[in-house]
Each structure stands twice: as C-alpha cells, then as structure tokens.
C-alpha cells in the first residue's frame, strides 16, 4: 500500500487556512443575524429561525462561488495556489454550512406538525407536484447530496480507492450542484422578494464564474501543439530560454498526453504533464530539492525515473530528451519501464 494520502497531512498552512474559513463563516453568520435583528425590529422582525435559515443559505452560496472561482484563478495567476492547495477544506465547510441550512429548514418548516419533520418536508411536495409546480426544495436537496458525496470523498483515501477517473468525475458534479443551487434560489427564495437586487447578485455570480472559466480555458487553448522534428521527435522549444528548475508544457500535435519538459542543472528531462494525484499540470511546477514538484499539492517525482522518492510509490511516465541545434527535442513515446 502506498503512502499516497500524504497531501492531507496537517501543516501550519492548513491550520491557517482553516482558521480563515472558520472566521469568515462565523463573521458572515454573526453579521447576518445581528444585522437582521437590528435592521428589522419588532413587530416587523423576522423569526430567528428564518433569519438563520437565510444566513446559512446565503453563506453557502457565497462559499460555493469562492470554491468554484479558485480553480480558474489559480490557472490565471499562480499566486492563488495557496488557496487551491486546501480547497477541499473549503468544500467541506461549504457542505457543513449548507447542511445546517437544510436541517433548519426541515426542523422549522417541517416540524411541530402532524407528521415527522423529514416526512412532512418530503411528502409536502406531493400535492404541489400534482398541480405541476416544481419543488425547489428538492433541487437544493440534490445539490446537498452532491456536496455530501464530495466532502465525504475529499480525503485522498477515496482518491486512491475510487481511482482518479471516477474521483474526478464525481468532483466535476460540483458544476451540476451549482446549477441546482442557482435554480433552487431562483425558483424559491427569489420568488418571495420584491427587490431586483437578488436577481442581479445571482447574475453577477453566475456571469463572474463563467468569465473566469472562459479566461482560464482560453489560456489553456492558447498552448500551441509542438512542431514535429526528425524521427517522430517533438521540438520542445529553445534550450536556453528554459531556466534551471523550470518546466514547459509540450502539446503533441496529434493529440495524446501532454509532456512536461524540465531543465535540471545542465540537463533536460521529460515526464508526463499529468500528476498522479489529481492530474495537476506538472509542467507548471518546479524542481524542488531535486524533484519535479506539482504546483497543486506538491507531489514529487524524480526527474530520472518519474518515481516519487521513498517512502512514496507513485510513478509517472518519462520521455527521452536530447538537445540539437539549441532546441530541446523530446520523444513522445514514453520510455519503457
């Protein structure tokens, strides 16, 4: 068994990160609740429980936007890497806040009646469904289910046991969850408000995330395929323009796995661009302490054989390189183990 879950070991960055998350969530909830009490006084005040339901609900939406923005931001500016490194903690926080929203809704709207609260909430849809109304609560419930699956499988134990493909697919469901949340709000809470501000806020969130993802995608698409050199090798660019310890992403012209070419001292080496952890772009990483280091969570691979240094057991494909006429050439056929 490999020691493949090391990326979730604790360190001071993670503790600092979690403190920030906790502080942000608590500050938000406190301001919302106290502000709501001060702004809307009796007899025109809100029920405490409803104020809390709204506080947790809106906080979850804000966190969801932050979670979804970090990915493209880190592609656009490497300095966001520190936020990406612990994004899973933010995801777990998001799930907990959304869960509390759902629990409050179930207890308050579904409780105190002739049926058990969860039964009341679920069977409450039935008459409305008959009349053709879309139960917006169900949309929120499905989104919560996805957040739960993601939070529950966020540990690298699951990544190792589900396999990277399944795990990645599971975590791409966050975009479905996002759509469900937006529909949940648009068909639910938004219908009860008379100010257009909420519509505009939601639109701002959706369009902001869309723009960030498009910008990140455009940047990715801008990488040109490498030129072919003699004997099926690929031209990986000028040798002297690659600084020591730095990498470069090489896109094979006919498709196929991208290759990360690194300069290591006076030599050059090439490995797969796809990190064995969560498919981070190794070519955007560095050589740190003699190992190719992933920019996302810091997994390391030896340049010479693509193996993680002991006790770790990951291994990524390596490629042959040579320098000819000042150009780095790389053979797109992975080396035999």
């Amino acid at each position: 068994m490999s020691n493949a879950y090391r990326a979730v070991q604790w360190n001071s960055h993670k503790r600092g990160y979690d403190l920030w998350i906790a502080a942000a969530v608590l500050l938000y909830l406190a301001i919302f609740f106290v502000g709501g009490k001060l702004l809307f006084r009796e007899p025109g005040g809100f029920s405490d429980e409803i104020l809390l339901i709204r506080a947790f609900g809106t906080c979850a939406i804000a966190l969801l936007h932050v979670v979804l923005a970090i990915g493209p931001l880190a592609r656009l500016d490497a300095r966001f890497a520190a936020l990406l490194y612990n994004r899973r903690h933010l995801g777990v926080a998001l799930f907990l806040v959304a869960l509390l929203h759902a629990i409050l809704v179930t207890v308050f709207y579904g409780g105190f009646g002739v049926q058990a609260a969860p039964v009341a909430v679920i069977s409450g849809y039935e008459p409305a469904l008959r009349a053709g109304a879309l139960p917006f609560e169900l949309l929120g419930f499905f989104a919560l289910l996805i957040f739960f699956l993601m939070a529950a499988t966020s540990h690298d134990f699951w990544l190792a046991n589900l396999g990277a493909g399944v795990w990645k697919a599971l975590h791409m469901l966050v975009y479905l969850a996002y759509g469900l949340v937006i529909a949940h709000v648009a068909l639910g809470a938004l219908q009860d408000q008379s100010s257009p501000v909420y519509f505009w806020l939601l639109l701002l969130g959706v369009s902001g995330l869309t723009v960030l993802h498009l910008l990140a995608a455009r940047r990715e698409a801008a990488r040109r395929p490498a030129r072919a050199a003699a004997e099926g090798w690929l031209d990986a660019g000028a040798a002297n323009s690659l600084a020591d310890g730095r990498g470069r992403v090489v896109v094979p012209p006919g498709g196929g796995e991208r290759i990360a070419v690194f300069r290591h001292g006076e030599g050059y080496c090439a490995v797969s661009n796809v990190c064995a952890h969560q498919a981070g772009p190794l070519g955007e990483g560095r050589i740190v302490n003699g190992c190719i280091t992933c920019p996302w969570h810091g997994y390391q691979y030896r340049p010479e054989d693509g193996k993680s240094p002991p006790p770790y057991t990951e291994k990524i494909p390596t490629y042959r390189t040579r320098v000819e006429g000042g150009r780095i050439l790389v053979n797109p056929k992975p080396e035999e183990v």
Binding site: A7, A133, G298
Partner: protein, 254 residues
Amino acid sequence: MTSEREDFYVGYLPMPPAHRAFLRWVAPSILWTMVVICGITLTFFKPAPPAVWSTGALLELKGMLRTAPYPLIEVRTEAGRMTTVLLTGIGKRGAFVPEIYSDTYCSVRGYPLERDGRRILELMEGSGAITRAGDQSAAWLTPEPLPIGRAEFEGEILDSKCWHGAMKPGEGRAHKACATLCVRGGIAPALIVHSGSRAGEVVILVGAGGGRAADAVLPYLGEPVTVRGEFFRQAGMLWLRLDADGILPRGSAP
C-alpha cells in the same frame, strides 16, 4: 535551496514572500466581499409582516363556540359588534374542540396572534383551554351568512396561523412546505387577496360543500392563484365557498 522556488508555492514548505504578500490582501478581500454581500442581502429584504404572537400573554375570550367548518369562537365586542376568532392548536395543528362544546357558550383561553387588526387564538394546552360559561346559548343570536355574491380573487392561499404571525414571514414560496403541514394538520386555510378592491383582505376558504377546504387548496399553497366562489360575510369574517375546481394557478408571482 530556497532560490529555486522563491516564487513557487508548495503547501508543506515555507510560503514564498511574494505569495505571502499576495495572500495578505487576497484573503481579507474575499472576507470583505462576503461582508458586503451579506449587507446587501440584508438591506433589500422584503420586511417581515407586522404581526405579533403573544406567546406569554394568556387571553380569555367568551362567546359561541363552533366546530364547523373550522374551530372558531363568535365573540361580541363591547360595542356590540360581532367578530369571529379562529382557533388553532399548538404547533401546526388545528384546535381540538370536543363536539360537546359545539354551539355552546364557552370561555376559551390561549395565546393570541395578531396582524392588521385581525386576531386568531392558539388554544393553550390542558383542560383549562375550554370551559362552559353559563347557558346563554339560547339567547345567542346566530348571525346569518350575508351573501356578497360571486367573486373571483387573485392572491395566495396559506394557513391562517402562520399569516397571523406564527412564522415571520409566513407566506410565499419558501413557506410552502410549512403551510402544507399546517393545513394538513387542520388549520383553516386563508386566501390573502393581492389585487383589486379587496386587496389585503383575508378570506377564509371552505369547500364546495361548505366543509373544510384542505384537499382543494393543498396543491396551490404558497403559489399565486386565482380563486372563484361564493363570497359572503358571517359574524364579522369574510368567507369564500370555493367552486368545484375553483382554484387556478397563475403563471408568475404578483
């Protein structure tokens, strides 16, 4: 060898100064953005209704107790005007009024919920909630229903208890599941009229046969609807006897 990674972040190594400086303003910026969003969200809320639920102030009312179509008490005010006060149970339940008290002069005790000068009463728990108050039943003039005519209203149907302040707000889409539970529990459904000359009125709904309207209204609670039926006033309260299929959903919110 720190020089090779001075601008490269690895979570388990000390943070490069450039990243640290960047985070110093990014993290607070995210925090402040959240605070601003929180402020905007709060500021533009539709205010909660000016309703008051006096959970600590026991109120006693004397009058003629009825159990059909919903538990209620007819009360004569000091000015001699007749008013009707709907009764509910604790939580999302209709009031439990034993049949022996039906159409008798009684005293009821409970906690009032009031909004816009209208009042309903949540009966207290225990045996003291309803007591006979002497036999004035024979002398009580039962007010006849006063027909107003056929009517069609636009509005929202919900349970009368939440509208009167049990939930704030106790109306709208978000409140739908709660209204469903209340009406299933036996609380009288009310139509809140949204437009026309009767806008703002609270109209208690009864079924086509004059009985409870729960089954007819359940699919439409919390939604904008058009409602048709026979409109009448009785003992100071507005009622609508629903036509069969007298409730139609409307496309969008008012």
